[in-house]
């Protein structure tokens, strides 16, 4: 049975199992918590994902596994880069080009999913699209609890399809890095599937055309935005970037090459939560 997760409900079931000395297994993943025992087999949903998200993921997985992918070393993955200096920076205007449906595009271009599925994924709302693809790298934390209520083991199970997701990350970062080369000194920073650059307006429009053409040659569609009131504040372990996108205030923290932040970025990729 599936239910919406509620901490008090989950805790009550844990209490019941402990009181009645019934051992159980608790599996925690990004979107679900599962309690399995002789008494219950319940899925608690972290957020309510429409069935079409799970349907999309099931199709993505079925198609991907038909074609092998090289093992990807996560430590080699690059999610961001920047040219920030230790001092703060302010610019009235900077420019941003983001890849659209980057992960799905890589899966399609590299022959892991067919055109029909690619088009279906693109019709999903952005967050659902990201969730469906992100499930390829799903990770489960499995806890075994004994009859005395003691956690006796914890195993982490990485999805067998994780390398397909990380292959996408690698290909996107290679493409973004190449785009950064094209931008030269104008390049400010990149973040996952987007580049940010600083130039005068006329040069920026020209640069944007070149970058958009470059991305198109690689099979990617993209969007172009002007960001205003861009500010970089140098903190101890990261650069805090603030800007306006239209009427919306945005903030992002770009690490100062601290590799322990990779885990948080991975979560961001999977959940898109700040």
């Amino acid at each position: 049975m599936k239910a919406i997760i509620d901490a008090s409900t989950v805790n009550k079931y844990i209490d019941l199992h402990k009181k009645m000395q019934i051992p159980f297994t608790m599996t925690l993943s990004t979107y679900t918590t599962r309690i399995q025992s002789n008494l219950i087999d319940l899925y608690f949903m972290q957020t309510e994902q429409p069935n079409r998200v799970f349907a999309a993921f099931a199709q993505i997985k079925n198609q991907c596994i038909k074609k092998p992918v090289n093992q990807i070393l996560k430590e080699d993955l690059q999610y961001y880069s920047h040219t920030f200096k230790p001092h703060n920076l302010y610019a009235d205007k900077i420019f941003n080009i983001d890849l659209k449906s980057a992960y799905a595009t890589v899966l399609h271009k590299d022959g892991y999913i067919d055109e029909k599925l690619f088009n279906y994924i693109n019709r999903l709302p952005k967050m659902e699209r990201l969730t469906a693809v992100g499930m390829l790298a799903g990770k489960k934390n499995i806890f075994e609890i004994n009859a005395h209520g003691e956690a006796i083991s914890n195993t982490v199970k990485i999805s067998e399809t994780a390398d397909y997701f990380f292959h996408c990350v690698k290909r996107i970062s290679e493409t973004i890095n190449e785009a950064a080369q094209h931008l030269g000194d104008a390049f400010l920073f990149s973040w996952v599937d987007g580049v940010y650059f600083l130039q005068d307006e006329e040069s920026a429009n020209t640069a944007a055309e070149i970058i958009i053409d470059f991305f198109a040659s690689k099979g990617f569609k993209c969007s172009f935005d002007v960001l205003t009131n861009f500010e970089v504040i140098s903190e101890k372990k990261y650069y805090r970037c603030k800007y306006m996108k239209g009427n919306e205030k945005k903030t992002m923290n770009v690490p100062k090459q601290d590799t322990t932040i990779v885990k948080k970025i991975e979560n961001y990729l999977l959940t898109k939560q700040y």
Binding site: M1, K2, A3, I4, D6, S8, T9, K12, Y13, L16, K19, M20, Q21, I22, Q36, S37, N38, L39, I40, D41, L42, M45, E48
Partner: protein, 243 residues
């Protein structure tokens, strides 16, 4: 209170007691058997016999404690539970004792162990309601007090709500999440009272006729409904999709 009220109460009691014809002599063996059954019954802390659902949940819990997998057995599967108990040699006495060892714990579970089911769309809700064997409660006003209803009554409320959605506003679909009380064996649905909802919707959108309401932009209507449902405390349990 009037004397007529007391007379009515007395008459009702007499009617209830009038089970047997005059002069009927009860079979002592049957009486003894009935008393023995009643003694085995589980009473809660208020002295009332617990429901079958509650008893079955206790049975499932005890069976699980004894290492028997009942995770796929539902509390309304009386025959199956009885067979499992017989096969495991578990008696009703043991179930009763388990409850009596921790009555506050189980009574608390009865009151508070609730699951919010995942959202089901219009047609699926009807199927789920049809298949559900427990009791139904409905919350249809902003005050939010659940009231018991029969399966037929809740289906009627659902139909009225669907008619409202398709007749008055341009609805694509809607979804409902029930609150399931595990040990109590109830399902509570939030289905708005359509007259009240219509009134508030018209007021919110500044219209006075159904015709004017139907002409309103779908996005504006959806926002107005969402705000009303949020104010009523319904928004976690009901979602409406307008065109």
């Amino acid at each position: 209170m009037s004397a007529l009220f007391f007379i009515k109460i007395l008459t009702n009691c007499k009617n209830m007691a009038k089970k047997y014809p005059p002069g009927y002599v009860k079979n002592p063996k049957k009486v003894a058997a009935g008393k023995a059954r009643a003694e085995k019954g589980i009473k809660d802390s208020t002295g009332k016999y617990v429901s079958k659902t509650f008893e079955n949940e206790l049975a499932r819990t005890l069976l699980a404690n004894k290492g028997i997998d009942v995770s796929k057995v539902k509390p309304d599967q009386d025959e199956k539970i009885k067979k499992l108990l017989d096969d495991a040699g578990v008696t009703k006495k043991e179930i009763k004792q388990m409850y009596l060892n921790a009555p506050d714990f189980f009574d608390d579970l009865k009151k508070t162990l609730k699951l919010t089911g995942t959202m089901k769309d219009g047609n699926q809700v009807e199927k789920v309601i049809d298949e559900y064997k427990g009791k139904f409660l409905i919350i249809d006003t902003p005050e939010g007090t659940p009231r018991p209803v029969s399966k037929t009554e809740i289906k009627l409320e659902l139909i009225k709500f669907k008619q409202f959605l398709s007749g008055k506003i341009n609805v694509v679909d809607f979804g409902l999440s029930p609150i399931l009380s595990v040990f109590e064996g109830t399902a509570t649905y939030h289905i708005p009272n359509v007259e009240l909802l219509l009134q508030e919707l018209k007021s919110s959108l500044n219209v006075s006729t159904d015709k004017q309401l139907k002409k309103k932009d779908g996005t504006e209507v959806m926002e107005a409904i969402n705000n009303i449902l949020k104010e009523w405390g319904f928004s976690e349990y009901i979602v409406i999709y307008v065109s």
